[in-house]
Symmetry: C2
Subunit: 360 residues, 2 copies
């Protein structure tokens, strides 16, 4: 039912407006025709290879490999580093995707062991790895940290972090699923942000809005070995080109939009911060994604969202999460094309309505 409700909406607060059935396929059909991009063959082909080279150039690594998913890409990075160091341990933040959302694949599948470092309510700091008594092969840091509402370390903290990893002799990998969103905060090039990392994984279906897909970037040898692991994971698909075409077609536009999303985030913050019953994490937002907390239960918020979808054709949130407090629900907002299309008056009015309905 809620999916039908969403489909019938005309405005969308989180992310990019959804597409109609088949719409993306028609767009990538034209894209491939116009550019004469035929199917790739097990990861080889003009479309996939040129897109890999494009991202390589932007982020400043030696090589890249397009992969079906980040879950796969990051485990592959860990396996390569494990082989290099002969050490099964890797360090991650307690809210890392690997710890929370991958069914502990690193243990069950990869025979690796996580060393949890840092505080679950703030991004990783140099001290977190400096203080660890356990020796590990790799440390993964997520920029920005999704579960923390898109928080980032300061530039100074990030530099210190890179330095400490290097000093300790561990491989430094970035979970850059949302790396595209960091540029506007740091006011640095992606290349500068990635500098000092041994590898990074980036995603194409979040901010970029593509169908699916990820990329792993690093040194030439690292990527060469990653391709062997990609076969082992069953990720070297017969054809990846639907995902690649969707990502490549959208990429330039998506990167160009990031500063606009960042500006719009500041405006959205200015509108919502004074509404009673709404709190921001972080406060203020650092990038164009953040978490909103409401003085209302998640269930009531869901009902209110559905009512607003019906009455106003505005989709307020994809889901509301429960928290430790019965009367505190939360949601994640990604400031994208959806919020560029809603003006401040309508935004304020609708959030006031959401809060009012959810408290009834």
């Amino acid at each position: 039912m809620s999916i039908d409700l969403k489909t019938e909406c005309r405005r969308f607060v989180p992310g990019h407006p959804p597409q109609k059935p088949g719409e993306e396929f028609a767009l990538i059909a034209d894209y491939c025709r116009e550019n004469n991009f035929g199917a790739d063959y097990y990861g080889a082909g003009d479309l996939i290879n040129s897109f890999e080279q494009k991202v390589v150039g932007l982020l400043g690594f030696e090589a890249a490999c397009f992969m079906p998913s980040g879950t796969m890409a990051q485990q592959i990075a860990l396996k390569v580093y494990e082989g290099k160091s002969n050490n099964q341990n890797f360090a991650i933040h307690p809210t890392s995707h690997l710890e929370l959302h991958e069914q502990h694949a690193y243990a069950h599948l990869c025979n690796l062991k996580s060393v949890i470092v840092g505080d679950k309510n703030r991004p990783l700091k140099a001290l977190d790895i400096e203080n660890s008594k356990t020796v590990f092969s790799t440390v993964i840091t997520e920029l920005p940290a999704r579960e923390l509402g898109g928080q980032l370390p300061t530039w100074k903290e990030l530099k210190a972090f890179k330095k400490t990893a290097k000093k300790r002799g561990v491989s430094l990998h970035m979970d850059g699923a949302r790396l595209w969103e960091t540029g506007a905060f740091y006011r640095k090039s992606y290349r500068k942000i990635c500098e000092g990392f041994d590898s990074v994984y980036v995603s194409f279906y979040k901010g970029v809005g593509a169908l699916t897909g990820a990329m792993l970037l690093g040194g030439a040898n690292f990527i060469e070995e990653s391709r062997i692991w990609l076969r082992r994971f069953g990720g070297n698909l017969f054809q990846l080109h639907p995902f690649v075409a969707s990502a490549a077609r959208r990429f330039d536009f998506a990167i160009e939009q990031m500063p606009k999303y960042s500006e719009r985030t500041k405006e959205v913050y200015a509108v919502l911060k004074n509404i009673e019953g709404i709190s921001f994490c972080p406060n203020p937002p650092q990038v164009n994604m953040f978490h909103l907390y409401f003085d209302a239960p998640a269930e009531k918020l869901t009902e209110a969202r559905n009512k607003i979808a019906e009455q106003n054709k505005i989709w307020m949130a994809n889901s509301f999460q429960t928290t430790a407090l019965e009367n505190l629900g939360s949601t994640e907002i990604y400031v994208g094309e959806g919020l560029l299309q809603i003006d401040d008056d309508e935004l304020e009015k609708t959030f006031l309505k959401l809060v009012r309905l959810a408290k009834l």
Copy 2:
């Protein structure tokens, strides 16, 4: 260069004729529009779930899960069976895909051990597992065996094989990448062929001709646990629907065509068997795929193929393999839409030319 040569051809001996850039995307765009199939969300959605149920009905298992690749699907089956039996060993034929084409993922990634059973030049028999002194959790048999030119055990042998696996208490898994091709040989329903197997993996990009994609089928609990492993492998993609739409759109037509391909195989055999310098494996073919051996080196055959592509616009083979004998090259023929479009006269004439050119 050879890819350009293929693109410019008008007739294709192996498989189905290739598509133009973007063509499949335009077709699945229409398919999704017409059926109102929106994107799936991590494997949940009308399109993916209804297609899973369709194949479940055809093959007679309790449940199914669409997956990105067979490499993933089969390792997942093995991990589930390992967990059930607490035994890392599984039995496979020496020419199994897991042994030859997956970078020994079962060992490097899954911490499993293969027990090689049977003779590399004939399909697995009941005796092969009966005679094994090693205890294993699972046995995998491939129907038809690709590396053996699509050979199948007789129906009697297959029944004995199923019985022996059951008696020994091991899980019986079918590598059914080309299961669709077996029906015309056994003259049995797919359901009957699958009967007695605990699980099967099927592919959609080989005979079916879809973009990419696989499915794992088995008991309800088995599939439920497989979905957890799918997350671990990073195969539970944000969206799978390009692959699912491509497979679902083609499926009925592809299954209907299989008897035609089988009939055409008999005709092709009748035409080619008398040409001097060509040998069949198996002889005669059992299904609509087989291997051809030529009394000429692979390199010479490739040159001859290219010349025929240039001069006659007919694509004879995707690749030629070397063999133990310097003067013996081979190729795999899949009798599909390509060979339905070439008449016997042209077929004979062109193969005579290939042999003649390759021997020069």
